[in-house]
């Protein structure tokens, strides 16, 4: 294997092997990524950079490597979405209301990563409280997608809400990143930045220490340059956690080792409801191509139906805001985060602190959530949405009687221009039309880059699996990755001179 000449062009697996083989030290590797992060500030992918911590962690990793105590991710620099609480490092959730909140505790997922030797480069930008599909709701300003349309200088969104993580992976600012996915927040930005994003089964990764958006849907997952890298990261991130009652005690397999074996004999379901009116023909064409690739490698394509798919988005926009309205009640200006100045009583303290602290999209969702839970509306909205949710899960259960995985498009289109959809929330919400079903059913879903649009923008396909069958999902993803041979990289226009 020939290594790229620039360390920042390594995949995570390549870097791991090089570090272990002492071809490069973690310090050298980390220094290169710290420099890359600094030179890419125009992308606004990071809210907080932690170069000093990164170098210190790299040094410690090198010491462990010398002693032969290397963990699975020893010395590998990664980026963390700013929704994960990191002990001693400011955690904002992309919101002004958290102000300069510095958690005195470390989330389980990030602790797992540090335990395996990973190095923290910084905290990545994101939609405020993970509410958004374009990273434009961040209090810290939008992130730019490293990708631009051919012959265009127009700034594009990196998707959301894990837009900072997606952009930093796409721009080679880190070897991999964490994301969280409540309705598509890992898979949608991965798809529009030409990266790999996996939302694991609900309960696979602990939610402890991750700022909550919608508790029954939130799930952390890896964002990476390759399927293999995602498999490596997931193994480290996943764990059953006694501190999270909804985490599940299923053994964490060696996902990387399970990538081998191909898709021969695997039944791949093609759900007809994912063919939507008005989607660009390129999406449909890519989807068909994806099916053909898998068929060519020995998989069997099966037509399946998920009849309640069309109710998923409306149900999602009841359940997620309802839970959010309650989860975000704790941001009241009393104990931490932003507190409005010049207040006279407690009601004013709440009203002003929250009005100043939350952005428009978060306020909108809190209002929707409060409304759907109100006396007299609960049955019409929340109860019904939960019933829809049960039906959607049943759809998947039925479909999986006929197939092993499902193949769908990841997004209804490529990255769009900054500001193009901000005035129309519904068109923004439609970005998640292919991804929310998976969250409602709690299943694993993987976005894998599969091709470029005519304008040269990345598009992804989605592989959906059975609960806790991430191994098969990743294996299918790798088959697509291999067949697509997606080697395109964005031009490095963002680099500081």
């Amino acid at each position: 294997m020939t290594l790229p000449s620039t360390p920042t062009d390594f995949t995570l697996a390549e870097a791991r092997d090089a570090v272990r083989a002492k071809k490069i030290s973690s310090t050298e590797l980390t220094k290169a990524f710290v420099a890359a992060v600094e030179s890419a500030r125009s992308l606004n992918a990071f809210v907080t950079e932690t170069p000093e911590r990164a170098m210190a962690m790299a040094k410690a990793s090198d010491a462990r490597l010398v002693k032969g105590e290397a963990g699975a991710l020893e010395g590998l620099p990664i980026a963390i979405k700013d929704l994960f609480c990191t002990k001693g490092v400011r955690t904002t959730a992309g919101s002004n209301i958290l102000g300069n909140f510095v958690p005195p505790y470390e989330s389980t997922v990030t602790q797992n990563l540090w335990n395996d030797g990973a190095v923290l480069l910084g905290k990545t930008n994101m939609d405020e409280f993970a509410m958004g599909s374009s990273n434009e709701t961040s209090y810290f300003k939008p992130v730019l997608n490293p990708w631009r349309a051919r012959n265009s200088n127009e700034g594009l969104v990196p998707g959301g809400s894990s837009g900072g993580s997606a952009a930093s992976v796409a721009a080679n600012l880190c070897l991999g990143a964490t994301g969280t996915d409540t309705g598509g927040s890992i898979r949608q930005p991965a798809a529009v930045t030409g990266t790999v994003g996996l939302k694991p089964t609900y309960g696979r990764c602990s939610r402890w220490g991750i700022v909550a958006f919608a508790s029954s849907l939130d799930q952390a997952g890896p964002m990476a340059r390759t399927v293999r890298d995602a498999a490596i990261l997931l193994k480290s991130m996943a764990s059953v956690d006694p501190k999270d009652s909804t985490s599940v005690d299923v053994p964490v397999p060696d996902y990387e080792a399970m990538l081998a074996g191909g898709v021969k004999g695997l039944r791949v379901g093609i759900p007809k409801e994912y063919r939507i009116d008005g989607a660009p023909p390129e999406i449909d064409a890519l989807w068909s191509k994806g099916g053909e690739w898998l068929k060519a490698q020995g998989a069997e394509l099966v037509d399946v139906s998920l009849p309640h798919t069309k109710y998923a988005l409306p149900a999602y926009y009841i359940v997620a805001p309802a839970e959010a309205s309650s989860n975000l009640a704790r941001y009241d200006g009393v104990r931490f985060g932003h507190r409005a100045a010049g207040i006279h009583d407690v009601l004013e303290l709440y009203e002003k602190s929250r009005a100043e602290g939350f952005g428009a999209e978060v306020r909108r969702r809190i209002l929707i959530g409060t409304y759907v839970l109100s006396a007299g509306y609960y049955d019409a909205y929340y109860s019904r949405a939960q019933k829809v949710r049960a039906l959607i899960l049943r759809d998947f259960t039925e479909a999986f009687k006929k197939c092993d995985v499902l193949l769908t498009p990841a997004t209804p289109g490529p990255a769009f221009a900054i500001g193009a959809k901000t005035s129309d929330p519904v068109s923004m919400y439609l970005n998640d039309v292919f991804t929310v079903t998976v969250n409602l059913a709690g299943l694993p879903g993987l976005a894998v880059p599969a091709g470029l649009t005519r304008d040269g923008l990345p598009l992804g396909l989605q592989v959906i699996g059975k609960a806790f069958d991430e191994a098969t999902v990743l294996r299918v993803g790798q088959s697509i990755e291999t067949a697509a041979n997606f080697a395109a990289k964005p031009a490095t226009w963002w680099r500081a001179a």
Binding site: F101, A329, R330
Partner: protein
């Protein structure tokens, strides 16, 4: 006056208004703090009286990303209480979020059980002083977390918040509207307190707030449908419960009799003024937007575990009382002895040491408890052991000392301690049963008091004077039966006066 009530008992529970008698209808909601070292959803301590905010985990403070984990022991305590209330144990129950803003409620919601409580219907029997037993139905018992405490008197401009109580496990026990007088309400609370103390599930300490009651009061004409109720909040002593009921019932009768109507509202009991005051009307009631807490799975109990708890239940007051009555105690004596587990245990220890049950009960109720009450002590803190009291009862029963000397003996043991039997010997308290000595004393007194002898012959009731004289000269040690017999013979009294 209207038609006479059916029985004097019924009659006594009515209150009189200008338009005739009214019936009070009372239901209680009791908050009982679960006896547990740790909180309901965190490992923080529950000890009373600690420095403010010294017993607060990140979960209790509602920090971002923190998740509740149910404390198994608190659930066990709730189940144990449910079994003690002869109630239905629900093998599946659900924790819900009750959403409202208050500075001492850090998450902006209280985790409680709304639609599916862990314990369903049960019953409690209360004994009234007139010997009547009343059944009070239990509607439900659910687990919930306590809020913190707002301190408004620490600073002229600011309120302070102490979160030590935040997250402490409470059992909310709701009765059916089965009580008809303030005495019944107080008797119910006393009985409930006894039951939870027997079970070891709550210390029942109303001063420290480990038991608090909200009282629902309505009035109606006997036989009429239920009237509109008012909820009187936070009544924190037995005495205040009785006072609050009396005040509130009278207030409602006055309104109704002057042509008004009762508004359903929440009222606060002011124990200094001895009155209830309006807190908020039904229209102002919070919309709590209950929904199942997505951070917690439904609480599923194994039937075998519940049965195990049932097997470990101690003998409860009702069963104990029945057993004591079988041993010959009156209903009243038995009820007094079982009202506190430690009292019943003390009594049983006396019997185990050889005292007759009935004599032991009489001794405690007539002699020992009075002294304890006067000294502000209990059987556990009092100076005389069950063994010592048992010995006193036994030496009386064996005619070794008289009942009168027994009181002196108790005084000695109370102040000086020691073995009662040894004291009887060392201080020469043994009663004189030597007929010769008593005969001699009797003869001397008769000889010295011829006028009294004549009086007694006319009025045999006056023989008591001679008994007193004999006792005086024998230092109280003469056996009263022997004295009586000899006196009767010598004075020629044939029958009891």
């Amino acid at each position: 006056m209207s038609a006479a009530p059916e029985s004097p008992k019924e009659r006594s529970k009515l209150i009189n208004g200008q338009t005739g008698p009214w019936e009070i209808v009372i239901g209680l909601e009791v908050h009982a703090q679960v006896l547990s070292k740790a909180k309901l959803f965190s490992g923080a301590s529950t000890a009373f009286g600690a420095e403010p905010n010294s017993q607060v985990s990140f979960v209790d403070a509602g920090m971002p990303g923190m998740l509740p984990v149910i404390n198994r022991y608190c659930v066990e305590q709730a189940v144990r209480t449910g079994l003690g209330l002869k109630a239905q144990i629900n093998l599946t129950s659900v924790f819900d979020r009750k959403n409202y803003f208050y500075p001492d409620l850090p998450s902006g919601y209280q985790i409680s059980q709304y639609k599916n409580p862990v314990v369903g219907e049960g019953e409690v029997f209360i004994d009234l002083p007139d010997g009547e037993t009343v059944r009070v139905g239990i509607e439900r018992l659910h687990l919930e977390q306590d809020a913190g405490k707002s301190l408004h008197d620490q600073h002229p401009d600011y309120s302070y918040v102490d979160l030590n109580r935040s997250g402490v496990a409470l059992m909310e026990i709701v009765t059916k509207p089965d009580m008809r007088s303030s005495e019944e309400a107080a008797a119910f609370l006393r009985k409930l307190r006894a039951i939870v103390r027997y079970l070891g599930t709550c210390d029942g300490n109303m001063d420290e707030g480990s038991m608090r009651a909200d009282v629902n009061v309505s009035v109606r004409k006997p036989g009429a449908p239920l009237g509109t109720r008012c909820e009187v909040k936070n009544v924190n002593s037995m005495r205040f419960v009785a006072q609050a009921v009396e005040f509130e019932a009278r207030r409602q009768v006055d309104i109704l009799e002057s042509g008004g109507s009762i508004k359903q509202e929440t009222r606060l009991y002011d124990n200094r003024a001895g009155e209830t005051r309006s807190m908020r009307s039904k229209e102002e009631a919070h919309d709590y937007r209950y929904f199942p807490d997505p951070d917690l799975l439904p609480l599923v109990l194994e039937d075998a575990w519940v049965k195990e708890i049932a097997k470990s239940l101690p003998e409860l007051p009702d069963e104990k009382k029945a057993r004591f009555m079988k041993a010959g105690l009156s209903a009243y004596d038995a009820a007094v002895l079982v009202s506190e587990r430690e009292t019943a245990d003390y009594f049983e220890a006396m019997v185990r040491d050889g005292a007759d049950a009935k004599q032991a009960a009489n001794w405690l109720n007539n002699e020992y408890f009075g002294r304890l009450n006067k000294a502000g002590l209990t059987v556990s803190t009092g100076p005389v052991s069950a063994t010592a009291n048992s010995a006193i009862v036994q030496v009386v029963a064996a005619n070794v000392i008289s009942g009168k000397i027994a009181k002196d003996l108790l005084d000695i043991v109370w102040t000086e301690g020691g073995d009662p039997r040894a004291i009887v010997e060392s201080r020469g308290l043994r009663q004189v049963t030597d007929t010769g000595a008593i005969e001699k004393a009797v003869d001397e007194i008769i000889a010295a008091n011829p006028d009294k002898v004549a009086e007694v012959k006319a009025k045999p009731k006056l023989a008591g004077w001679f008994v007193g004289q004999v006792m005086k000269v024998t230092g109280g040690k003469a056996n009263p039966q022997v004295v009586n017999a000899i006196l009767k013979e010598r004075l020629g009294i044939t029958e009891e006066g």
